[in-house]
Assembly symmetry: C2
Homo-oligomer: 398 residues x 2
Amino acid sequence: MRLSERGRTIQASPIRKFKPYADQAMAQGIKVYFLNIGDPDIPTPRVVAEAFHAYEDEVLNYGPAQGFLELREAIADYFRSYNIDLKADNVIITVGGSEAIFFAFCVVADPGDEIIIPEPFYTNYNGFASYAALKIIPLTLRAEDGYHLPPAREIEKLITPRTRAIVLCSPNNPTGTVYSREELEEVIFLARKHDLFLIGDEVYKEFVYDGLSHVSLLEFDEAKDRVIVADSISKRFSCCGARIGAVMTRNEEVYQALLRFAQARLCPPTVEQRAALAAYRLGRSYFEPIRREYQKRRDILYEGLIQIPGVILHKPQGAFYVNVKLPIDDGDKFVFWLLTEFRMNGETVMVAPGSGFYATPGKGKDEVRLAYVLKEKHLRRALELFRVALENYPGRRH
Amino acid sequence: MRLSERGRTIQASPIRKFKPYADQAMAQGIKVYFLNIGDPDIPTPRVVAEAFHAYEDEVLNYGPAQGFLELREAIADYFRSYNIDLKADNVIITVGGSEAIFFAFCVVADPGDEIIIPEPFYTNYNGFASYAALKIIPLTLRAEDGYHLPPAREIEKLITPRTRAIVLCSPNNPTGTVYSREELEEVIFLARKHDLFLIGDEVYKEFVYDGLSHVSLLEFDEAKDRVIVADSISKRFSCCGARIGAVMTRNEEVYQALLRFAQARLCPPTVEQRAALAAYRLGRSYFEPIRREYQKRRDILYEGLIQIPGVILHKPQGAFYVNVKLPIDDGDKFVFWLLTEFRMNGETVMVAPGSGFYATPGKGKDEVRLAYVLKEKHLRRALELFRVALENYPGRRH
């Protein structure tokens, strides 16, 4: 049987494809430190469990396609607390940020259309591009520039008659870069000039360090009609397994189209929406100690990594990832070796190989992404394992 | 801003698009009987609530992309109890049956490819075809034939070089028809002859009446490599709001492709998978009284409807829908009128207009779908309202 082209070519997740080897290692009694996936270890707020405990419906019914009004209102309130002018009717609840991105892709582009994404980028965009049969045009960024955006004229070279949108993820996964207001203004200028949509992936909004603050695409009134933003509670409230996100726009026609996409899949999970509502009601102050904890971890990881000879990285300003260049032959081989061969006192460490975060063939082969989602003690141990592993890796380049 | 073509053309759900008018009627104090949507009123098994109550994880983490092994095993066991040879490694847990269908569409077909679906069909296939940019080729069935399939040579006329799959929903939504083993064998013969995939939507598997039993596409060893089946707990356990389904195949290459599609969106909801596991552990006997209840409702609705002059229908053998032809100008107008004008003792009834269940333009305009998801007393009242409404509808044809 011949599968579809996308069925044959859709990327295996570089974050997850090595999981079976990690499972094997654990089955052998090896302790694995997981720096490969952004699944936070910060306790989920207790109100989430309480929302599950309060479930007493006689029937677990469908909810509205766009999500429950109370939750959409709570999200709009939350964004208004950041001086973003948003109403419940600008918000559709989605099944995680994943679905938000996918719906946004579908609404702006048809098969074969192009969307420009700075690379390295969140690897699952590749999957959503396969879902929607779009073409990702990578805008290659450089570690030396801290993965900041190049001038508008550089981005403009990538625009063709088929370009439909530019995707900006800030704070960025996997680089940790936070785009400045000026950078965003340059891109907005381009989007207006070429009549493009702007898709913002802002799920790490609160994860900004060193006193910086996140600038949302939703703050720009001049781009109001062309901005679609994906959001999620996964990282904000350590709720990855709840699968609650949101897609937001102030363009009414886009909203109605997103709503029809939402109707086709009926609704997001009912009980998790109540849990999300309870989490939003905690207010913004809930997040401050968590931000401080992540900043501390960022510092530990960064300070540790820059002391390892041959490791090239920039200091991330946000999210909870760092993308590093290593003196190695191939990130995939390195990760495979970590899981199947490298052991130190019965322990090893897992990271995500970098090539999957690039669309340009060959790029990122000597890079890996590390997520700082472990407590200080474990993070320090994982770092030590990583250092020793890198020294002893047979594919190390000298 | 120019939206994508699919953004502009994706169908508004005929099941849900009139919901705002129903909400308005209810806000005016009108009681609305909902026969428009297949959201069962049968109590969800208590073990589902108990699974929510037992949630005590410190962090609500991601689960595996393919779903938890225990649940996949429970589902395989369940199907084996129907003499279907299925293993946990043939099952991927999805976000509802919706995602199962969408992933199946993506794996078999690329944009512009064709899939043949007997019409009337579950309207949301239109939405998934927009997601995946496929072309649905309708095979028009007739009420007079009880919406059974025509001979293979009739279906064959629709096959072109771009045909990639045939979708069979049995027990059928919206017709209630249950395909016989012989009907399925004819289609399998065609699929083998033209090397097509077969996608089975079998989410109403247990809902078969009059002593009939459901035949699954998974039962045919000769089609083992070409069959992909979508399943869901939504109807089986009255768990529509849980968003737990499954996609199943014994073709290993197809399985691996489905898994990569699943990886891109990370995982299905974590806690609901535990709830689903608890429900599956109830065993098949759980469903028997529910089947009897639905059969009773089917009889009430059918007996009531055939007595209304001008109503044409066949007796459904499964699922919980009946598709009826009415002496009306336009199903959309009829539903709008039911919600905004028709009232009897402060009550009205809502149904789903038929045209959305057809891909052929103009078809189904004088049809509506009714779901028998109400308790006997309410169903009888809804039927009475429907009868009187139809008599008094200004767009009635004489």
